[in-house]
């Protein structure tokens, strides 16, 4: 759960004074340096005068504040406040040294340096050089490989059930708090069922568990849930949040992705079969390059690369180079945030300010993605603002490639007829409209007929359209990427060999051959057991989904500006265990939910609260609000309308078709009431289903690791008035009236399905009072009796949906 913190509204540079040089530097000076000075230094000087240069020329480096002031063999390079005495200015003016040797810089740039030195040469760069920084950063906890810690000693060793409980209890004992009691079995089974499959337990599942006296009672529930096909839907949705899953391009012209759902189903399937996480990563980065035993496996692996293809795209962008730079940026950003918990995109324009990620690392990754082709389809569109960058798709099936070749040929022929048809028709129209007599009208008519006939023949023999998916494939010739100065596609810097982030140090870094993009090597680099981030980031995500907050609360940011782990040893224990278990996500989840910690009640405790109000030590379970999807799914379960599985053609977007939303396609069907699970609802960018907008669903254009949780009136209004909720209330009422013999029984049934408990006697009374009153009022106003009964019960069901208990788990 993301806590909305209003206190941290200070620009990040200012809240990190430890990264600033000793003397304070004003905003204006900082801006001046960053916009006028640093880019020039990077572009013109670093090549020969930085730690990266093989041998700093003249023994002089200007990549740090200190080294610039210390100078080289010829003495200090600058005298702050005195440009005329500064060697650097002389050199720039080509008065003594001639720097840069490639040619004198513009006077305006030199003048900037004069002004800068006059202002005292304020320089925010850290005291040490960048590679000194890396040494610094080597101290940052997350950049060192996790080491499996020993299980800590605790005083109350009767309490822990599993290894992880020792880590939790040890912190609690140190903090002087005591874990509260275990949750009631009813509370626990509701919690674990929502957490694992995103649906409420049925009354009979609750009953079975309540009376199961075997020592394996809890295990049985967990194993049943892990085996449920709904497990993948629940955990797949978590993954789709970070994978910024969307079924359209977003941006100003919003083109549909009618085949994106195949990636969605791939993700759900992967969770259901407990695909080892390392394999899951390999497939998403380089599934097309993995060996396959048969075409089914080949397709499955290719589907994974949809991860890289589904990002937002600005298809009307005129500049090719800018367009592809943005596509690749999305791929780098998604890859690094999702798998590594790192925000690498900063380095597109300048060296990362806080993490040791130099610009060159960014472009090393960029080369990998630029060497691959992104297959996302999209309709060419029409008119002004049409799609400037349509692409092919991956064709599924045993003979997909061949089928696709035939299909593309056919498409091409069809397209080649568009112009002749237009020409023939225009010629005929012109002749007919002409005021002068025209004698070749029959001939022109014949022409029109002929081209239409050609089209008809072609269509009659149209080959079947292959099943498509969004994916990646290699380009014929891999290329390295140029550094783009300040991220500008028009200003190219050095060419950078393809590679990975230098902050991760492996004993055996995979090599990238000249003849391939390096995606496969990138995948291997990500899943190398030595990679300090990959396993930690994933177990932290799992932890977050089960306990409400990550051990590292900033789940997408394990860098210097991220938050520190609350239980670092526990995180490392879980990460190393995860790898040892063969990267099994289900085993990791099982380990967590069977712990004593997960079994705790969420009850208040004055003593603990006085000592540790934030519950960082988890002396009780955190109660959590269910996500919009789950609230909706639960209503469908209670109403009896819940339909398992995806819609017929995969997605509503598939039926909508291929084209630009609003301009070519009416988006109305995206908002129609549906009864399938929320994970299958259409997810077009900027056209998100209403319940998700209202209950803090993720923005599909952005990598979302932790959703916000708000509590605002629009949510109440939705539950009180929205047609979907009214429909479900009516259906639930019909169901109760049919299944329940009397009032008491119906109320009891509803409470058991919606809240997984029985009503208290006063709850019975309030409910009956409300229903009777509503029924009477409606009858008095002339509603037929049967209708009044229906409406009254529906109103009661809706009250249950609107209540807090329905959307919280404790």
């Amino acid at each position: 759960m993301k806590i909305i913190d209003f206190s941290s509204t200070v620009f990040c540079i200012l809240i990190a004074p430890s990264f600033l040089s000793a003397d304070e530097i004003s905003d204006a000076d900082l801006k001046f340096f960053e916009s006028k000075i640093r880019p020039v230094l990077v572009k013109e000087c670093y090549k020969c005068h930085s730690i990266e240069a093989k041998k700093s020329q003249g023994g002089f480096r200007l990549d740090t504040r200190k080294s610039l002031r210390d100078g080289g063999e010829s003495g200090p390079a600058i005298v702050p406040g005195k440009p005329e005495e500064s060697l650097l200015i002389e050199a720039l003016r080509h008065e003594s040294f001639e720097m840069p040797p490639s040619g004198r810089l513009d006077d305006a740039i030199i003048e900037d340096f004069v002004v800068w030195i006059q202002r005292g040469a304020p320089d925010p760069r850290r005291g040490k050089s960048r590679s000194d920084q890396s040494t610094d950063s080597a101290l940052h906890w997350s950049f060192q490989a996790p080491v499996r810690p020993s299980i800590p000693q605790v005083q109350n060793d009767a309490w822990p059930r599993t290894d992880l409980d020792y880590f939790i209890l040890q912190k609690q004992e140190a903090a002087g708090v005591r874990p509260v009691d275990d949750a009631h079995r009813r509370v626990w089974i509701r919690r674990v069922t929502f957490d694992l499959i995103g649906l409420p337990p049925t009354p009979s599942e609750v009953e079975t568990f309540l009376y199961d006296e075997s020592p394996q009672a809890y295990e049985k529930v967990v194993d049943r849930l892990l085996d449920s096909p709904h497990f993948g839907e629940r955990w797949g949705r978590h993954w789709l949040d970070v994978a910024r899953y969307g079924e359209s391009t977003g941006h100003k012209r919003n083109f549909t992705f009618p085949h994106a759902w195949r990636f969605r189903d791939y993700v759900i399937h992967s969770f259901n079969v407990d695909k080892p996480y390392d394999q899951f990563i390999r497939e998403q980065i380089a599934g097309d390059l993995l060996p396959a035993e048969n075409w089914q496996q080949r397709d499955e692996q290719n589907l994974g690369t949809g991860f890289l293809a589904i990002g937002p795209k600005d298809l009307i962008m005129g500049s090719d180079s800018q367009y592809w730079a943005d596509v690749v940026d999305d791929q780098i950003d998604a890859t690094c945030q999702t798998f590594l918990g790192l925000t690498v995109s900063c380095a597109r324009c300048h060296d990362h300010k806080f993490d040791p990620i130099p610009t060159k690392d960014y472009y090393a990754l960029a080369g990998i993605f630029h060497s691959a082709e992104t297959l996302y389809g999209t309709n060419p569109g029409s008119g002004a603002g049409s799609n400037a960058h349509p692409s092919e798709l991956y064709a599924l099936g045993e003979n997909g490639a061949e089928q696709n070749r035939i299909y593309l040929e056919f498409q091409e022929k069809l397209n080649s007829l568009v112009k002749p048809i237009q020409q023939a028709e225009n010629a005929l129209k012109k002749a007919r409209d002409s005021k002068e007599p025209v004698d070749n009208i029959p001939e022109l008519e014949q022409n029109v007929k002929k081209v239409h006939q050609q089209r008809k023949e072609l269509l009659d023999a149209s080959p079947p359209r292959p099943d498509f998916a969004m994916a990646m494939r290699e380009k014929e010739k891999p290329t390295n990427a140029h550094v783009l100065i300040a991220g500008d596609a028009k200003s190219k810097g050095d060419l950078v060999p393809r590679g990975f982030l230098s902050l991760v140090k492996l004993s055996d870094t995979p090599t990238i051959d000249e003849d391939n993009s390096g995606r496969l090597a990138l995948a291997e680099w990500l899943v190398a057991p030595e990679n300090p981030l990959t396993a930690r980031v994933m177990v932290n995500r799992i932890w977050q989904h089960l306990f409400g907050e990550g051990i590292v609360p900033s789940v997408n940011n394990f860098g210097a500006t991220g938050k520190s782990p609350t239980h670092p040893e526990l995180l490392d224990y879980l990460a190393t265990q995860f790898v040892e278990d063969g990267w099994s996500i289900k085993r990791a989840i099982r380990r967590l939910v069977l712990s004593r910690t997960y079994r705790l009640a969420s009850t208040h405790d004055d003593k603990n609260f006085a000592v540790e109000p934030d519950n960082v030590t988890l002396w009780r379970m955190r109660s959590r609000r269910l996500e919009g999807e789950i609230i909706r799914d639960s209503m469908l379960v209670v109403s009896g309308r819940f339909e398992p599985g995806p819609p017929e053609h995969g997605s509503v977007v598939t039926d909508l078709g291929d084209g630009c939303l609003v301009r070519q396609l009416d988006p109305e069907p995206l908002f129609q009431s549906q009864t399938f699970r929320s994970v299958y609802l259409p997810t077009c960018r900027f056209f998100v289903p209403e319940i998700l907008e209202i209950f803090d669903g993720p923005s599909p254009s952005l990598v979302t690791g932790a959703r916000a949780v708000t509590n605002v009136p629009s949510q109440t209004l939705y539950l009180l008035n929205n047609d979907f909720v009214v429909e479900q209330s009516q259906a639930a009422a019909q169901r109760l009236l049919k299944d329940g013999a009397g009032k008491q029984q119906r109320i009891d049934l509803l409470y058991q399905t919606a809240f997984n408990r029985r009503p208290t006697s006063s709850e019975f009374e309030s409910a009956i009072e409300f229903i009777q009153n509503a029924q009477q009022t409606l009858s008095q106003r002339g509603q037929p009796n049967e209708k009044a009964v229906q409406t009254a019960w529906a109103a009661f069901c809706q009250a249950v949906f609107t209540s807090a208990e329905f959307r919280y788990i404790h």
Partner: protein, 463 residues
């Protein structure tokens, strides 16, 4: 914020509903229980928040003139262009096109305004701060519209209204804090009032659709035919009882407290919103002032009057929109129509704000996404121009009767004191008491702002 929670059954009086500010949250009862994360997380994220410094205005009414109004035909008088009419311009095969409209100086300030806006010119020119040196980054609608609204044309970013709501919260919890009437469906669509990475509660509440009539306009999910209102109130009481039962059982639970508050507020909103949007509550004089039911000014008059009613009721950020400012052809006729449709309503809005004592607290902004070129096209049209255009501000915090910055002699490019769109955003936030460099939200490892890494407050225009 000192009032305590009322009696559960006496919460829903209309008067109270309209007057209620963001107080009366039960969570305050727990304020004494240390500043725990839990209680911070469950505070109402829309509650009013202190600005960074003393604000000049408290709210914004943003008049979006969709399409790119022509500066040289409205507020940027270019006699040289008239002289050079018919001479070759800078565009290939396109001659310069002097404004077909006559200009006059108005008021004490003597600012020039074209004949299109007689009411604004005669009654309010000395209230306007006209910035004639605007420039922006894109000359295409689908990029420039989101850029105007979010300060970014490359990525999905929060809209300016969402930033303001995030920064200041809102005064009347019975109404949405950010309302946008008739936003464009395309050109970025929901992006223009979205919250992106800010929590969803900061997104704009959209009503209607650009170019459509606002008669019968209402907010979604406000009511349902399913249940008569009195029974729905019974239903809400039942839910409240259930929630209170749960709270009793849990002893301390700020989340359930929050749910109780939001139920109460949602119920009040059901009464408050239609009441505020009900224009029949206005006097005949007021309706006439805005030109309601008077033909051309009727539609935009309704929007302007609703904007005033929202402003009066404490909505933080209100955007209304008038479309059809994209005159590639038929400029002479279409701009006259636009004038007839918007002049009287906008003048009425300004008058009304002054008469009701809302003037000093309200910043009114009139702008399109860019301006137009001095050359002619398609008979009597002009094409897009991001390099120079005009916007104006009025009301709290800005100098009236002032023109700031200039374009060149033909109105093509901002030359003196150019004001970039980022500067406009920075200035708008500044007027609201927000430092655009400090209004940040951490997402993806860094702190984002409306103005990205740009923007300078145009201090010369501040009163």
């Amino acid at each position: 914020m000192t009032t305590s929670h009322g009696q559960p059954n006496s919460l829903f009086s209309r008067r109270q509903a309209l007057k209620s500010a963001a107080c009366g949250f039960g969570y305050l009862a727990f304020a004494g229980l240390a500043n725990s994360q839990a209680s911070v997380a469950n505070q109402n994220p829309l509650a009013p928040k202190a600005p960074h410094f003393r604000p000049r205005a408290k709210r914004v009414i943003f008049l979006f003139m969709d399409g790119g109004p022509s500066q040289m035909d409205t507020f940027d008088y270019k006699p040289q262009l008239t002289k050079d009419d018919g001479k070759p311009g800078q565009r290939r095969n396109a001659n310069l096109f002097g404004s077909p409209f006559s200009f006059k100086r108005y008021g004490e300030s003597g600012l020039w305004v074209s004949e299109l806006f007689p009411n604004i010119a005669n009654r309010h020119i000395d209230d306007l701060c006209v910035i004639r040196s605007m420039h922006t980054d894109s000359g295409s609608h689908p990029q420039a519209v989101p850029f105007l609204h979010t300060g970014n044309l490359q990525f999905t970013r929060p809209s300016s209204g969402a930033w303001v709501l995030y920064g200041l919260g809102t005064e009347n919890q019975n109404l949405p804090g950010f309302i946008t009437i008739n936003p464009p469906k395309i050109l970025g669509g929901a992006q223009n009032y979205g919250s992106a990475f800010l929590p969803a509660c900061y997104q704009g509440t959209a009503m209607g659709r650009l170019g459509r009539s606002v008669k019968g306009l209402s907010m979604g999910n406000l009511s349902s035919d399913n249940l008569p209102r009195d029974l729905q109130l019974e239903q809400i009481r039942l839910v409240e009882k259930m929630n209170r039962g749960l709270l009793d059982q849990r002893q301390v639970d700020p989340q359930i407290e929050g749910a109780i508050s939001s139920l109460e507020l949602g119920s009040r909103m059901q009464d408050a919103v239609p009441e505020v949007m009900d224009l029949t509550r206005e006097s005949k004089e007021t309706l006439d002032l805005y030109g309601i039911d008077q033909g051309d000014p009727d539609e935009f008059g309704r929007q302007c009057l609703m904007a005033r009613r929202f402003a009066e009721a404490g909505v933080r950020y209100i955007e209304i929109a008038h479309t059809n400012w994209d005159q590639h052809r038929r400029l002479t006729g279409d701009l006259r129509l636009n004038g007839r449709q918007t002049d009287q309503p906008i003048a009425a809005l300004l008058t009304d704000l002054q008469q009701r004592g809302l003037w000093d607290d309200t910043l009114v902004i009139w702008t399109g996404e860019f301006g137009r070129l001095p050359e002619i096209e398609n008979g009597d049209g002009r094409s897009h121009n991001p390099a120079g255009y005009t916007m104006w501000m009025a009301g709290g915090g800005v100098k009236g009767g002032m023109a700031y910055g200039t374009t060149d002699e033909h109105g093509r490019t901002a030359v003196e004191n150019p004001v970039h769109l980022h500067d406009m955003h920075a200035t708008m936030l500044h007027i609201l008491g927000l430092d655009h460099e400090r209004l940040t939200f951490r997402y993806s490892g860094r702190d984002f702002r409306l103005t990205d890494v740009f923007g300078n407050v145009v201090t010369d225009v501040l009163a």
